[in-house]
């Protein structure tokens, strides 16, 4: 893998602006809410700009790791502060930037405990950014956990429906995941005999025997997979979505679940390619079950956020299926789907959040006729739902298409099942749209005001991202291919 | 010829188990103490038997110590029970949680 060192620490600046935001917020008095919000907006905006800059400044002809920064931290243990971005990491960084910025803007109306909220969000997101850019196993694990802990407080304090239960469930699940990841990482580091946590060094082929790879991969897969909502370990995620406040749901579904899938890719697949091939069939099976199961469960939910939660399970199943194909197309599709799904659920949650803030209900039985009273808000919801269905020219269509094609090639039966799930997914998404947006307008929602221009900005950003990447998917796929093609061709 | 030493051991064991059973299952402090007494006594039986088996007086000496300790234990134990009873008005061990 070619490695290009950075002239300027862009990646660290992203992290730095998160941490700086966190510190500045901590020093602003509690009651200056506007100042806190502006600081958050500016700092998150900086991260968005930086990640977008990196996305476009990446040299696709050269490929490999770029913008690398590497400093020894604990030489005796082989731990270094090692950041780098490649074709897999950059889409995720961009996604995090987008979701973070829009998430902050979405919470502009927050009035309770503003300071703590934004501080925790910043903490969480710095973990996420770190996870996506770090190339050192030790730091990957640290960032992974940093991004998990604030979730508990964010849900338990600012959440709604059954929040304590959900927060506890989520935290326990995620910690169970990291309890599997940690031994696997230590196992790999010890068995390698290199005495280093450096991912790139450990990736050297032949470092691990096939048995070690199989063993470590299944641990990593389940450990990170719990976070990615892999089928039987998915139940934390709908519950968590439902309970979390809007921005947290956005970050949670949009980015946190991607951390899981990304962890499988970055640590599991990179270090244990043979283990990956060995377990691929199991991964595909679980993924397909997740796809089909998610839509069917979603079909009978009445809570809007539960519906989205289960659709996430289904969509993350598509990511899993893509990863399981062990092909360039599969990897492309999976990473693209991570990106597309992230933006899509962010849009979904932000519009549902708006509706919930106004109507104080998330039950699709009580809602109805919102297209009359809030045409713009429901318009965003409809766009999100259509993206979820996989309507062409919206980002996730391409991702799903590539995954389907590659899975059809590798696992025909699973491919067919996944394609068939499209019908049901259409049924359940449209059911939601019909129940909430359509129908005669209801009296009790008649006075509600539509999304104002200011509040519309984050949603507009998300919609335009979806449409742009839907119309020009090659921008994203070219980026991912710089990483996936060398990786697959380098496989034994 | 009396009996094999193992029979004595079996007798002591059975008595010990009875004492333990009493100490563990009865919900009454006095009965627990009683169970302890039974167990100590079974120990004494085993020692006496052993003294005869190996024709050594140490066994009997230990048995005498057991007697002394049993006496000491019972007096302290009963005194404690009286104290506890004065405080709580019950001899149920469950009442002292």
């Amino acid at each position: 893998m070619p490695i290009a060192y950075a002239h300027f620490p862009y990646l660290s600046s992203i992290l730095f602006s998160c941490v700086a935001g966190l510190l500045i917020i901590l020093f602003i008095p509690e009651d200056k809410k506007d100042a806190i919000k502006w600081v958050s907006a500016v700092c998150s905006g900086v991260t968005l700009l930086l990640s977008a800059y990196l996305f476009f400044a990446y040299d696709k002809t050269q490929g490999g790791l770029q913008f690398v920064e590497k400093y020894q931290w604990v030489p005796s243990l082989g731990i270094s502060y090692y950041n780098g971005a490649d074709g897999f990491g950059l889409p995720m960084l961009l996604l995090t930037g987008i979701v973070f910025f829009t998430g902050v803007l979405t919470m502009w109306e927050l009035e309770t405990r503003v300071k703590e909220f934004f501080a925790l969000i910043f903490l969480l997101v710095s973990g996420v950014f770190g996870m996506f850019m770090s190339m050192d196993l030790f730091f990957i694990f640290i960032w992974f956990d940093v991004s998990l802990f604030p979730m508990y407080l964010l849900i338990a304090v600012w959440g709604s429906t059954r929040k304590e239960y959900a927060a506890m469930k989520l935290t326990l699940y995620l910690l169970a995941g990291s309890a599997l990841v940690l031994p696997a990482i230590i196992y790999l580091v010890v068995k390698s005999g290199f005495h280093t946590f450096d991912l790139v060094a450990l990736m050297h082929p032949g470092t691990f025997t096939p048995f070690q790879q199989k063993f470590a991969f299944i641990l990593l897969y389940i450990g990170f997979g719990i976070l990615a909502g892999v089928w039987p370990f998915h139940t934390w995620s709908p519950t968590g979505h439902v309970a979390a406040p809007t921005a947290v749901s956005m970050i949670h579904a949009g980015v946190l679940m991607k951390i899981g899938a990304f962890g499988v890719l970055r640590v599991g697949i990179f270090l244990c390619p043979e283990g990956w091939q060995y377990w691929a069939h199991l991964m595909a099976l679980l993924a397909v079950i997740g796809i089909v199961y998610g839509v069917f469960v979603g079909l009978s939910q009445t809570d809007l956020k539960f519906v989205i939660g289960y659709s996430s399970v289904s969509h993350m199943g598509i990511v899993g299926l893509g990863l399981a194909t062990v092909t360039v197309e599969g990897l492309n599709g999976a990473v693209f789907q991570m990106f597309a799904h992230g933006v899509m659920t962010a849009l979904f949650f932000s519009s549902v959040g708006y509706i919930y803030d106004r109507t104080h209900t998330k039950s699709i039985v009580e809602l109805g006729g919102l297209s009359r009273t809030m045409p713009v808000a429901s318009g965003y919801l409809i766009v999100a739902a259509l993206t979820g269905i996989g309507v062409p020219c919206l980002a996730s269509f391409w991702a799903e298409l590539t995954v389907f094609i590659s899975s059809f090639k590798v696992y025909p039966l699973y491919g067919i099942l996944a394609v068939c799930a499209l019908v049901v997914s259409a049924l359940f998404m449209l059911r939601v749209v019909q129940r909430t947006c359509y129908g005669p307008p209801k009296e009790r929602f008649a006075h509600l005001e539509d999304v104002s221009f200011k509040l519309g900005i984050p949603r507009m950003i998300l919609v335009s991202v979806i449409v742009i990447f839907g119309l020009f998917p090659d921008v994203m796929l070219n980026m991912i291919q710089t990483a996936s093609i060398p990786f697959i061709s380098g496989l034994p | 010829m009396i009996v094999p030493y193992s029979h004595v051991i079996v007798l002591a064991g059975i008595v010990f188990l009875m004492g333990m059973f009493c100490a563990v299952t009865r919900r009454n402090l006095i009965m627990i103490l009683l169970g302890l007494e039974i167990m100590l006594n079974s120990g004494a039986i085993a020692f006496i038997g052993a003294a005869l088996r190996w024709q050594l007086l140490e066994g009997q000496a230990i048995a005498i110590f057991i007697l002394a300790i049993a006496a000491a234990e019972v007096s302290v134990g009963l005194a404690l029970i009286v104290c506890a009873y004065r405080r709580k008005g019950s001899v149920d061990p469950g009442a002292y949680n």
């Binding site: - | 010829m1 030493y5 059973f21 009454n28 006496i48 007086l57 049993a70």
Partner: protein
């Protein structure tokens, strides 16, 4: 089977039966009385096994002193009046399980050792010889025991006093 062994078995049955009755009585006074019987049996067993002095001590201390102490306390506290939850299942079952493994392990232990099949020869330790032996070989232990008894005496006195007297 000799006469001695018959006596042993009779005594064994007596001890086990009376102990069993003692631990299963609801009435504490009855329990104590059954236990006294059991101790008499043990005393006779001691005599049989060649420890006449200890048999006497058993009767005097155990049956005489300790049990009477129990009776005093029982009467003082009027504990018979309390309704006791009898053998609650949560305690009973683990205890039973414990007993079962105890018996099984014990049986293995005893049957596995051929040495224990040898019958005991009858003998008796003269009280005088025993006394000499005790004070020659174990004088330090005797002193410690007596010190212990003294401490217990003090402790019991302390515990027995009503707290209000100090205040």
């Amino acid at each position: 089977m000799t006469l001695y062994s018959i006596i042993f078995y009779v005594l064994a049955v007596l001890i086990i039966a009376s102990t069993g009755l003692a631990i299963s009585r609801r009435n504490l006074v009855h329990a104590v009385v059954y236990l006294v019987i059991s101790f008499f049996g043990v005393a006779m067993l001691f005599y049989l096994l060649g420890a006449p002095f200890l048999a006497a001590l058993e009767v005097i201390i155990y049956a005489g002193a300790i049990m009477v102490l129990f009776l005093f306390i029982i009467m003082m506290l009027k504990v018979e009046a309390f309704e006791e939850r009898f053998f609650p299942i949560r305690q009973w079952l683990p205890a039973l399980g414990m007993c079962v493994i105890f018996i099984v392990a014990g049986a293995f232990m005893i049957l596995g050792d051929p040495d224990t099949r040898i019958p005991l020869k009858a003998a008796a330790a003269e009280p005088v010889a025993f006394g000499h032996y005790l004070f020659q070989a174990h004088w330090l232990a005797i002193e410690i025991i007596s010190l212990l008894l003294l401490i217990v005496l003090v402790a019991v006195l302390y515990l027995g006093k009503r707290k209000e007297q100090y205040k």
